[in-house]
């Protein structure tokens, strides 16, 4: 079924069904007893298909997807490491799937124990006091963390602090989160070496600054070696330090954000702690804080007293950021991952992921332009092909990689360079895999010189070729109904 290209709606035949429900055992009641003005007038356009139709359709479209188990997935900043199977097995247990979020604490001591222990382990791993597991994703964690920052200043009656400093190398979510939290953004330029410019920082600091958001190692894969001084400068100016945990993988076993002076941080459990990315989510973005910020964590928190776990609602809290307690089955998987690795392996994650990134870096330096020299942490960033005379771009390189069975790296980010290629080979990749990838990258660089036209048309072997993105944006065919209208 290589060329399978149907939509589920196109398999629909009136009268088919894919479900079975219990027979009604109760007489004398019917939905039509409701006033007809409360009911919809037409039935929804949902497909009518058999169970096997559904299974074949989704199996066939799945074959057009590339996952971590398909092959190497060096998507920078996304930490596409192996997603262990035992995590999935545990997350599927009835004891965890069948508890209702409004059951009383005494009936859900198991889940509360996991909540409490996981937040404590994350706090220890990051050098902070306590965590909330309620935020749903990294960006949601950023928003939560910034709310905590804002609340801290508000409760101190320091109302002037309306600005947040964000380096130009930051993830796009940082300024977006700060803006949604009602902050103004001060963007500061990086140095030639790709790190925070202390002079720029000093100029930006004032009594109007609530704090600074920083990723370390930054999005260039470089450790901010002035981190102690940066923290001190921000703290001396009365601001707080926010750590974007997207790149935490590099630091496991090496250094803790809390020790570097960060006051608030989020962790992307779907990155560093191995939970699957699910085609875009669900993720999980726990937020940790130093002791003095614990009262501001979102409600509810989970606490322990005399062997009993209970929910706590705090007056000073920023409030709720989720309907219930976040993506429970995601943080459950992270808990299993930490116990699987244990303290002896957890501390090797930073070591091996960094070793892998540096190995890739040194092997590609001859063919791809490395804008900033020196050691990488867990990822390395190139600025396109070293020889760009043929007009082959980073996009072309990325597309050609797909032909060779690799997922493309992150491209055109960070924005500091025009042709960014951001490669993150995690610790779960072997030297053999990296050698294969390096060989292909070199081959692609060669092809760019010899056959640029072929590169421009890549990929050639994937289920579809390059897509007309302009058509999509112009036509805005966003539903099957739109599609039928367009093709009437």
């Amino acid at each position: 079924m290589k060329n399978y290209d149907r939509l589920i709606f196109e398999l629909s035949v009136k009268g088919r069904t894919g479900y079975s429900l219990p027979k009604c055992e109760i007489n004398n009641y019917a939905l039509n007893d409701l006033n007809s003005t409360l009911l919809r007038t037409e039935q929804p356009d949902l497909p009518e298909v058999s169970e096997l139709d559904v299974i074949r359709h989704y199996t066939n479209i799945s074959h057009k997807n590339f996952g971590v188990e398909t092959g190497f997935y060096p998507l920078g900043s996304c930490t596409m490491k192996y997603n262990p199977k035992i995590n999935e097995e545990i997350a599927a247990m009835k004891a965890f799937n069948s508890v209702h979020p409004l059951q009383s604490a005494s009936e859900v001591q198991g889940v509360l124990k996991i909540y409490y222990e996981l937040q404590a382990m994350l706090a220890d791993i990051s050098g902070l006091a306590a965590y909330t597991l309620n935020p749903f994703a990294g960006a949601h964690g950023e928003l939560t963390g910034l709310m905590i920052m804002k609340e801290y200043h508000l409760q101190r009656k320091d109302f002037k602090r309306t600005k947040v400093i964000v380096p130009d190398s930051a993830h796009g979510t940082n300024p977006a989160s700060a803006s949604i939290c009602g902050f103004e953004i001060i963007e500061i330029k990086s140095t030639q070496e790709g790190t925070v410019d202390l002079e720029q920082l000093k100029l930006a600091l004032s009594d109007e600054v609530a704090g600074m958001m920083l990723t370390n190692p930054n999005t260039l894969g470089i450790f901010e070696n002035n981190i102690i001084e940066i923290s001190k400068l921000v703290h001396d100016a009365g601001g707080l330090m926010y750590y974007d945990g997207a790149n935490l993988n590099a630091l496991l076993g090496k250094v803790r954000p809390g020790d570097m002076g960060f006051d608030i941080m989020h962790i992307n459990l779907h990155k560093t702690f191995s939970t699957p990315h699910g085609g875009g989510g669900p993720g999980s973005g726990p937020v940790g804080v130093k002791e003095f910020l614990v009262p501001y964590l979102p409600n509810p928190q989970v606490k322990l007293l005399d062997g009993h776990y209970y929910f706590n609602w705090n007056q000073d809290s920023i409030g709720s950021v989720s309907g219930f307690y976040g993506n429970f089955k995601v943080w459950l998987r992270a808990y299993v991952y930490i116990l699987t690795l244990g303290k002896e392996n957890l501390k090797l994650v930073g070591e091996y992921s960094t070793l892998n990134a540096n190995y890739v870096r040194v092997n590609l330096e001859d063919d791809f332009y490395l804008p900033i020299k020196g050691f990488s942490m867990h990822e390395c960033v190139f600025d396109g092909l070293k020889d760009q005379s043929s007009g082959v771009t980073t996009l072309d390189v990325a597309k050609r990689l797909l032909d060779y069975g690799f997922h493309a790296p992150t491209i055109y980010f960070p924005l500091l360079f025009h042709q960014s290629i951001m490669i993150e080979p995690t610790e779960t990749e072997s030297k053999q895999t990296l050698d294969d990838f390096i060989a292909v990258m070199k081959k692609v660089a060669e092809e760019a010189k010899n056959d640029p036209q072929m590169m421009k048309l890549a990929p050639h072997t994937t289920p579809i070729s390059r897509i007309d993105e302009v058509y999509a944006a112009k036509k805005m065919i966003l539903t099957y109904k739109d599609y039928l209208k367009e093709n009437r």
């Binding site: 429900l21 102690i228 669900p282 409030g319 709720s320 999509a472 065919i477 966003l478 109904k481």
Partner: protein, 444 residues
């Protein structure tokens, strides 16, 4: 060696040589020595799979799984077996956001199907690719109203579930928006109070159906008022109920939002669930999150791709509509597979069975004389009743019989002292309902 790390001693040696370092320590020289972490984490030692299974089973036994007779945002609907098999396929589970459409048509196809199904259920023109949960989707709808009208105040019906309201309050506070509540009359949002509070500072009006009391609110006359005021009319609706209930579009809404957990997703202590957000096409550029559109590839094959990305944070940074990046994509697949299996007739049957069970339970409970009606209003699968009995005692009695139910609305809002919630889905048998009634009828 550890099973997730493939590095042998020989590999490490060769890699170090290639990099040109004696020791891996060299790679970390940028980290100030004063803050280098030299200790062990306070984490247990590595567990084998055997130990892990035992450990987690033991923790699992600390949870009490019950027969579920309450809802309030988390519903115990039937989970078709097929879904877990599909969403566990690694191609869906372990991929990420479809940045490379040439090798992501699986994900993009189901997002397109998901958007199609959400728009069909709500009657709206466009849907995004997913939101975190119902409450945060509603908060994003509130932000959309602000962005579209450039006004800073939101009216929210006090009949909206307090779990939604508390998230709205948090989001509004830090963004600098103001929330004012519309009173209810007989359990439904009050049109007269809305009239009183509408003015040219109001960006949008948010209501919920079925509401916190389970009531199917009737919005006749509402949209005209809201639209005459140039505000946005936003309806939060449990998506499953839209299989039978009047759609947000039939109620003339500008934005529809809410929770999709009711599409057969396990209650799972509150997550992961799935929020949806749909709107009229005119507002598409103000929507947050991913949106998938149809296009063609170079060979004119029909294909799908993320589109209108200029709205998003990775392009617009601080000018983006929203900060959402990772979403709940795998749950959008769950919803899509569920709706494919159920089709229009299955979804209707789920609602019909839930309706019948809930109304049977309601009448039986009232007949016991331990419970009295609170509002005389239409409901679907959940409802509230008042009791003169001690609520804690009722809950304890139910728990002792392995039942979870009678959630106390007074725990959310002191005005609802001794008002309790019950919910019946198609999973509850007549025997279970009869047993519940027998227990509750025997109390005094």
């Amino acid at each position: 060696m550890f099973k997730y790390f493939p590095h042998t001693e020989a590999d490490i040696e060769q890699m170090k040589q290639a990099i040109g370092i004696q020791s891996t320590e060299c790679m970390f020289q940028a980290i100030p020595s004063a803050v280098r972490y030299q200790k062990d984490y306070h984490v247990p030692s590595s567990m084998s799979e055997v130990e892990l299974r035992n450990h987690l089973e033991e923790i699992g036994r600390l949870n009490q799984t019950k027969t579920i007779f309450s809802g309030l945002g988390a519903y115990d609907h039937y989970e078709p077996s097929v879904i877990n098999h599909i969403i566990s396929r690694q191609e869906f589970l372990t991929s990420y956001t479809p940045y490379q459409p040439e090798i992501s048509q699986g994900t993009l196809t189901y997002i397109f199907e998901y958007q199609s199904m959400i728009t069909s259920l709500t009657g709206m023109d466009v849907s995004n690719a997913s939101m975190y949960d119902g409450p945060t989707a509603t908060a994003e709808a509130m932000f959309m109203a602000e962005a579209i009208t450039k006004r800073k105040k939101i009216l929210v019906s006090e009949t909206v579930n307090p779990n939604v309201i508390s998230v709205l309050k948090t989001y509004a506070k830090y963004k600098g928006l103001e929330i004012e509540f519309i009173n209810h009359k007989q359990g439904s949002v009050d049109l007269d109070d809305l009239k009183l509070k509408l003015n040219d500072t109001i960006a949008g009006v948010i209501v919920q159906k079925p509401n916190f009391f389970g009531i199917i609110e009737d919005y006749q006359g509402f949209s005209e008022l809201v639209h005459a005021n140039n505000s946005l009319w936003i309806i939060n609706a449990d998506i499953s109920t839209l299989g039978v209930l009047r759609t947000p579009t039939e109620d003339d809404a500008d934005i529809a939002c809410g929770e999709c957990q009711s599409l057969g997703m396990p209650v799972a202590f509150g997550g992961p669930y799935l929020g949806y957000l749909a709107a009229k096409k005119v507002h598409v550029r103000k929507m947050p999150g991913r949106i998938c559109g149809q296009s063609f590839d170079r060979n004119h094959l029909r294909s799908f791709v993320l589109t209108l990305q200029a709205r998003e944070q990775h392009i617009r940074r601080e000018k983006a509509n929203s900060n959402i990046c990772s979403n709940q994509s795998l749950l959008a697949l769950y919803a899509t597979v569920y709706l494919s299996l159920m089709g229009p007739s299955g979804l209707k049957e789920v609602n019909e069975l839930s309706y019948i069970g809930a109304h049977y339970l309601y009448d039986q409970l009232i007949a016991t004389k331990n419970f009295t009606p609170v509002f005389n209003q239409p409901f679907l699968k959940e409802f509230v009743v008042h009791t003169h009995l001690n609520v804690k005692m009722i809950q304890k009695q139910l728990a002792d019989h392995g039942i979870f139910g009678a959630v106390h609305l007074g725990d959310f809002d002191e005005r609802y002292e001794n008002v309790i919630n019950f919910c019946v889905t198609e999973k509850r048998t007549k025997a279970e309902i009869d047993q519940l009634v027998k227990i509750l009828g025997g109390l005094s």
